[in-house]
Symmetry: C3
Subunit: 441 residues, 3 copies
Amino acid sequence: MEHTPSTHLEEKCSLEHIREIYNLAIRLFPICRSITGDGVRQTLHILQEIVPQMTIHEVPSGTQVFDWIVPPEWNIRDAYIEDLEGNRVISFTDSNLHVLGYSAPVDKLVTREELLSMTYSLPEQPDVIPYVTSYYKERSGFCMAEKQKLSLDKDRYHIYIDSDLKEGSLTYGEILIPGQAREDRNEIFLSTYICHPSMANNELSGPCLTIYLAKWLLEQPRRFSYRIIFIPETIGSLAYLSRNIDDMKPHTIAGFNVTCVGDNRTYSYLASRCGNTLADRTAKNILRFYAPDYISYSFLKRGSDERQYCAPGIDLPVCSICRSKYGEYPEYHTSADNLDFISPQGLGGSFDLYRKCLEALEGNHIYKIKCLGEPQLGKRGLYPTISQKGQYDDITSMMNFIAYADGTNDLIAISDIIGTPVEQLIDIAEKLIAAGLIVKC
Amino acid sequence: MEHTPSTHLEEKCSLEHIREIYNLAIRLFPICRSITGDGVRQTLHILQEIVPQMTIHEVPSGTQVFDWIVPPEWNIRDAYIEDLEGNRVISFTDSNLHVLGYSAPVDKLVTREELLSMTYSLPEQPDVIPYVTSYYKERSGFCMAEKQKLSLDKDRYHIYIDSDLKEGSLTYGEILIPGQAREDRNEIFLSTYICHPSMANNELSGPCLTIYLAKWLLEQPRRFSYRIIFIPETIGSLAYLSRNIDDMKPHTIAGFNVTCVGDNRTYSYLASRCGNTLADRTAKNILRFYAPDYISYSFLKRGSDERQYCAPGIDLPVCSICRSKYGEYPEYHTSADNLDFISPQGLGGSFDLYRKCLEALEGNHIYKIKCLGEPQLGKRGLYPTISQKGQYDDITSMMNFIAYADGTNDLIAISDIIGTPVEQLIDIAEKLIAAGLIVKC
Amino acid sequence: MEHTPSTHLEEKCSLEHIREIYNLAIRLFPICRSITGDGVRQTLHILQEIVPQMTIHEVPSGTQVFDWIVPPEWNIRDAYIEDLEGNRVISFTDSNLHVLGYSAPVDKLVTREELLSMTYSLPEQPDVIPYVTSYYKERSGFCMAEKQKLSLDKDRYHIYIDSDLKEGSLTYGEILIPGQAREDRNEIFLSTYICHPSMANNELSGPCLTIYLAKWLLEQPRRFSYRIIFIPETIGSLAYLSRNIDDMKPHTIAGFNVTCVGDNRTYSYLASRCGNTLADRTAKNILRFYAPDYISYSFLKRGSDERQYCAPGIDLPVCSICRSKYGEYPEYHTSADNLDFISPQGLGGSFDLYRKCLEALEGNHIYKIKCLGEPQLGKRGLYPTISQKGQYDDITSMMNFIAYADGTNDLIAISDIIGTPVEQLIDIAEKLIAAGLIVKC
């Protein structure tokens, strides 16, 4: 790659800002979130402290959303397993992962065999608690480390889950930021999910980063409108789409599903279904220049809300930039995906890439050179007046930009062709507009 | 490749069936076939025993077929070379390859030099008799192993060919199998050739396999019509096309020239002229999953009746799946291409691939998912109700199918994209239709 | 590659002819050319001796050409640097590269520091004089080897440049060769530049080769018209286009900017902006067969008049075949790019490739086979009447040509597909036309 990464977040986003993102993750981590319930509401209210423009919406249990029905609301207060001497084997207060997500209440004595049949573990990762759910079939269950499961040697245990599953609602947050363009209402869409209990990369990193992206966007001049949502995964995106797809479809020019953006490993890209939407082109362009070693995943490796956003008939232009993508790192969906796995640096790098994507989209105009043949840049102070070999490197990007500013290529396409980052092309375009040499199409 | 080959023929085609194909080759092997004559008729009558629906057609000598004229009919009864003591050097009864194909009758004494000038051999393969013909220029000639040719040490020889070249006809067989689709008359075309004397891979393997494909097709439910022809190569395909092209062109959706399908070496694929017809897409898809090491030949390596089927203005969608392709194995067009070179296993593997191609074509519908967003498969028993990492592999194909069932991709295209064999997708489509989730377009 | 290079120029262009090209370079080498002035006129008059059809045109200083203005005319008679004892440090008569191009007159004593500040050298190539110009900002300056610059040890020097910059004109030569096709006026465009002082590959090789291409073209039957221009680089192409673009645009089917064609190193290709014009397709086809090791440069490596010819809105189909391309060899724009760097062999090889490109364009028809199916070539003496394996290599090209002569592919496209050089296909097409088998579309 021709360009070394910028110093990322430091440029426009202070170190203090990065630290704030991480601190938010620390604050939200202990809350027991699920696809419904008070954990989601508590999380959204904390996010609302950062961006008060967020509105919070409730979709009643039983609502049909396309092929699905919003399930009963789940809330949990406590849970444990004890032996008959009252020694706690596991406790909800130690880790909310110990309870199978959406567990129905239970309070009874069970045999060891009964307990084992309702206890989930990962034999191949014997030290960690797995994250397991049963949203749409009523069960009660526990999760624990395989090692702990193997050490259960009593004949009987007391199991206790103080939860309830009843009519209520699914809760989501929405931030609508109007753009300043009069002529149209083109919109950029950001989605992230707030349905995972105490795990850090997947998934507190997404909502923590996204709320600060929203805050940053509110401070910027904006050509486009932004639709930013904080939803429970799958059922939440379906619920949101069922209410909003008619409004979104004609206006959404690019979207990103923000997930798994917190750790410090390599960057990755998950393509949209079509693979070449404006969102894909933008993500690949930014990654090429600032994280050239990124891993590229096809849509066959999808697993989050792009499953809904890119479904046939929905077809929104949505892709993802991740660090370690869900399903592709050992800590995924276990207690090892904790606050040590993510870092301010990891979150900050992702923030910077998403910011660059949004800036590239905002600046992604189509330009056309006004004169025939190359303009004489020298008389405008834009080109050396001495012609000597090896002296042009600094103006090569401007010359290349002019060569491809033909009224058909947008800035991202030109960047792809000539190998100059979009942010440099935006600066060049400004100089050329000031010199009266190009026009926006 | 993601999938190991199925156990081929064993699945749907019994071992006995495979053995029948090979036994047919044994039975047909001794007959002296050429582009016309009683050897062709005898061969077609034996094939007709297996599929009585075959009709046999005669095209008179002298008939204009496009740029060509059907030549006189050739028949041969005996031939030999003797020295003056009556010792036979070669005899037609030992191998019909010893006579230059279409040789005019001769019975005379010749000098060694005269004999050598009319005797064909392969210096680079000194042990085998080559297969040589002179259909369109009247000659008499012999073929023998280079070693034998070098051992000819007498001054004079008696040469004898009891053949005739006279008005008659070109003979071909045709099986038309109607399809069950009412709304259209889409047709699949199979062609093979019955003009080679005693050689096994090229070419008894093609007609032997094709007649059993026809028999199998007659036992299947069929969406499409099938046109299956057994012709002499080149002049036969030209004659057939000159009579039938107007009828074939609007209806033929895919076709295969079945040749060189009997040996046990690697599989190969010969592209059509355009290279991406439905026939090509089907063949490449099936080979990818069941014979991933296959060799791919471009149309520049053509050499059989695709020369006519893909000619400009004809433009039928015809390609080939072969084992060792004509021209690409040392035994080709020699006495070494004998019954030991082919095998039941070789024929059976090819039969299975062609059968899979035809099944893929029959099942190659375009589907469209009926709901927006992903359907909830869990409530239909098609998806686990427990969500735990690493538990989805068995339903990934169904999810991928749904993601691409957008009303534009056919099943073969989806298989290419998602890496699941068409036969699995057909099963999945049936489940989804039963669940009311997809419709055929 | 399938074909070894032909013996190049020897075939159609005698060795004497090659020698003439090189001798012309020897004759033109000493002249001090620039973008304007008598050096250009003197050069054009010598070229006119070879092709008297050349017309010479003057564009007055001050003329607006698109975004540029034709600068004052520059002429120089003498220049030197002396120490105060009258010892010459450098002299214009030794090398015209010693003077900064377009230097204003000067005659004064300067300190060593003053002299150094107006003296250009190449620290990384300390033995050679660099070629430096200042066309559009008035300066006076000198160029010398870094070694010589470092040896300047006197306190004061006498610097002298006897030049003038005044109203005059820019001079260019133009050869218009009418084609013989009545129905249209398709035109091929050749451009080369005559603005460099004493350097050989870049650039005397271009005009020397191009004038002999023009001479050769005048002796050939021609389907197309030819527009061949000898201009100063950049300002000359802009001036020419500003006068002629409306006339050129509808008729120009292919063009080449002929530059850096004299040395004996590897061949190279510089793409047009779009990269796939008829000119590009022709150049790549010819290079594939006759110089398969050529280096391919994208339009991002441009640097000559294709900058104007391919500019948005101009969009002429212009690419280049070079030997060592400008900017890509160490001798570039220095005194080391001298007559020893180029050779008759180097020029002759380039001449041959350009000639082959023009012949390929002239012969680049679209053909269509007249019969359905393959024609019977045997009855026309175009195919062996004996069919024996391994005997067809010599007619494979004809069979392949026929297979792709479908009324859509032009000859260059067929050559690309089947791997047979266009010149062989032209011969084949003639035979097939004579046989009544194909028609021109």
